[in-house]
């Protein structure tokens, strides 16, 4: 928190005096050494300049965590902050998403958050992106030094993780080019519980490495909700899973939308009928909404604590002033306050970050059969029955898969085709799955000109 002091003295010295006081505490961290500093840390005034004028940080999500993160980072001195969120502001956000006011309801979260912070914090140049993370491309993500996430979706985390892993570059000896690493600081909260972690893609455990740590969505056995409901949740689940598809109140093909008040009201009414029939109490509109949208009430103080931990890690990464947490912190405030930090381990068979690209050299007029034979016979692969797919213009394409009869029959002819005929090119990736590898691997094709062709020209 800073206070603008206005006195009757001359303006200019007031401004610099204010600037001095504004950054005094940050500079104590950046311009002095100390026993807790990173071993390679060299105190200097340049670091604050880097943080303020060069370091580009992307905040993903402008909700409960995102508002906290944006405020924390801006007050720390980061100016070049981008924030992305596809959502608009709802009434129920206002208790904790403190950058929004009642008049903002219906407007873009990213835009309102940026407008507020830029106005409130002098010098801040935050930029808003009101869109999905998937609509932004590699070039966009590559411009950032650090990405920090306050997301509520596992799918979104996995997508972003995949993007950052795909930006990694490898040297010829297959070692990681560290300048291509964009650190991802990820926060998450659920009620009184939360976690914060630091991911160095390609170097430390990534989202896919620890996918098993995410709790499964709360589900009830189908037979229980169908025949022996005991809880109000069972009745709501029944309407959601079975009755909706059976009765199609809005015509077949209309999916149940937890954000549509009419849908929720319909489910609520039917769930009440069912609860009555089975003598179950406490089916409420709020509970219906909660079960449909999987809502766990958000707690402002959990968000604040987790965002603070994340922002601190961003600061450490940007300045190297301290060693980062290693690498996964959990926080539980349900009963007292408990935190524990442990080192999540990188999985050797991680589907995302263990998949360092192999390179395969083939002649530019080679057929798919040549690739298939190489996969089966080359010392480096020795595969049994590789399934080969690729992505062309954003669409998945199955090139050959022998293990599934119906696919084998329809892709057999591809073996005779030249790879270039199927849309593959120099530098294209093919994805290969086989029993001999723990997960699907990526192989980059290197097409070399056929000498005979060259000579006959």
């Amino acid at each position: 928190m800073f206070i603008v002091v206005t006195t009757m003295d001359s303006g200019e010295s007031q401004v610099s005096e204010y600037q001095n006081r504004r950054w005094m505490n940050i500079r104590k961290l950046l311009e002095r050494s100390g026993p807790f500093c990173h071993p390679d840390f060299e105190p200097s005034a340049e670091i604050l300049d880097f943080i303020m004028n060069s370091c580009k940080v992307l905040v993903v999500g402008a909700g409960g965590l995102g508002c906290e993160l944006l405020k924390d980072l801006a007050l720390m001195g980061f100016k070049k902050i981008h924030i992305v969120d596809m959502d608009t502001i709802e009434l129920s956000n206002l208790n904790r998403q403190f950058l929004f006011r009642k008049n903002d309801i219906g407007l873009s979260k990213a835009k309102c958050a940026v407008e507020f912070v830029n106005k409130r914090i002098p010098g801040c140049e935050a930029v808003a992106h009101h869109c999905t993370i998937q609509s932004l491309d590699e070039g966009f993500y590559r411009q950032f030094h650090i990405i920090v996430c306050g997301l509520d979706s596992i799918v979104a985390r996995r997508w972003l993780n995949g993007m950052l892993v795909s930006l990694l570059e490898y040297n010829d000896d297959r070692s990681l080019d560290q300048s291509s690493v964009i650190p991802m600081v990820d926060g998450g909260t659920e009620g009184f519980k939360g976690n914060a972690r630091v991911i160095l893609p390609g170097m430390s455990a990534c989202i896919e490495c620890t996918l098993d740590l995410y709790p499964p969505q709360k589900t009830y056995p189908l037979c229980t909700i169908a025949n022996t409901p005991r809880l109000p949740e069972h009745c709501i689940e029944y309407v959601k899973v079975i009755q909706w598809a059976k009765e199609n109140p809005w015509g077949s093909g209309t999916a149940l939308d937890g954000d549509d008040p009419q849908h929720v009201a319909w489910v609520y009414e039917k769930a009440q009928e069912r609860a009555m029939k089975h003598g179950i109490a406490n089916v409420t509109y709020r509970l219906t909404q909660g079960v449909l949208k999987n809502i766990i009430p958000a707690v402002a103080s959990t968000n604040a604590a987790i965002a603070a931990a994340c922002a601190t890690e961003v600061f450490k990464l940007a300045s190297s002033c301290c060693v980062n947490m290693n690498n996964y912190m959990i926080l539980n405030m349900a009963d007292g306050v408990y935190t524990y930090t442990f080192s999540a381990e990188k999985r050797q068979d991680c589907i995302a970050c263990s998949n360092t690209p192999h390179v395969m050299e083939i002649e530019s007029n080679a057929t798919l059969q040549v690739i298939y034979d190489k996969l089966c016979e080359d010392q480096g692969y020795m595969m049994k029955s590789p399934g080969i797919t690729t992505v062309i213009n954003g669409r998945n394409k199955t090139l050959y898969m022998s293990s599934i009869k119906s696919i084998e029959e329809r892709t057999r002819d591809n073996l005779k085709k030249k790879v270039t005929e199927m849309g593959l090119y120099n530098g294209a990736d093919i994805l290969v799955a086989d029993v001999t590898t723990p997960s699907t691997i990526t192989i980059k094709l290197k097409l070399i000109e056929n000498e005979d062709v060259e000579m006959s020209r």
Binding site: G162, N396, R410, A428
Partner: protein, 183 residues
């Protein structure tokens, strides 16, 4: 731990001046994982798969033709929809063939624990195939979805068997009509 940014190379590429190569969409983690699952699919001889679009590995059908038990001689089609959060979330599986079965209702919902509450990311499409096959060999009246069928299996096995046969040949059981599904 590395010192990620030496201050010398602190300027990042501006947007748009991205390195050559453009933005090539990468396969999602769900896609990579399902490719692996399918390539290693080890079907029992009573099962086969159908892919309406061989480029779309996320949507396919499984056909089970049991060779023993109550449902011998039948042909049952299941649709699999694999979502973007696979394997964190299980595929959505529905039975497209009307069947008189204690654990499958007339809308095609299937009561199999690993399809809902007991799903784990280590499980694969193969686990589900075996689970579904098991449902036909050992219908479980303890966890009923079609309560009528379950009660009947418990109280009068012969009658249940007759009704299963009638349903598979095509006809009414109670007030429900079943299409013929014999092989």
């Amino acid at each position: 731990m590395i010192k990620l940014f030496s201050l010398k190379q602190q300027k990042k590429d501006e947007e748009g001046s991205a390195r050559a190569g453009g933005s090539q969409k990468k396969a999602s983690a769900a896609q990579l994982r399902i490719t692996k699952d399918l390539n290693e699919l080890n079907l029992p001889k009573t099962c086969s798969t159908e892919f309406p679009d061989p480029d779309d590995l996320l949507n396919f059908k499984l056909i089970i033709c049991p060779d023993e038990g109550f449902y011998r001689g039948g042909r049952f089609v299941f649709s699999f929809k694999v979502g973007p959060n696979y394997p964190h979330e299980p595929p959505k599986v529905k039975c497209e063939t009307a069947v008189y079965h204690p654990n499958i209702d007339l809308e095609g919902n299937v009561c199999l624990n690993i399809l809902r509450e007991d799903w784990k990311p280590v499980l694969t499409v193969n686990s589900i195939v075996y689970g579904l096959q098991y449902l036909f060999l050992e219908p479980n009246p303890e966890d009923p979805l079609n309560k009528e069928a379950a009660d009947e299996l418990q109280s009068n096995r012969r009658l249940f068997e007759q009704h299963v046969q009638r349903a598979m040949r095509g006809g009414y059981v109670g007030s429900s009509y079943f299409e013929r599904c014999l092989k």
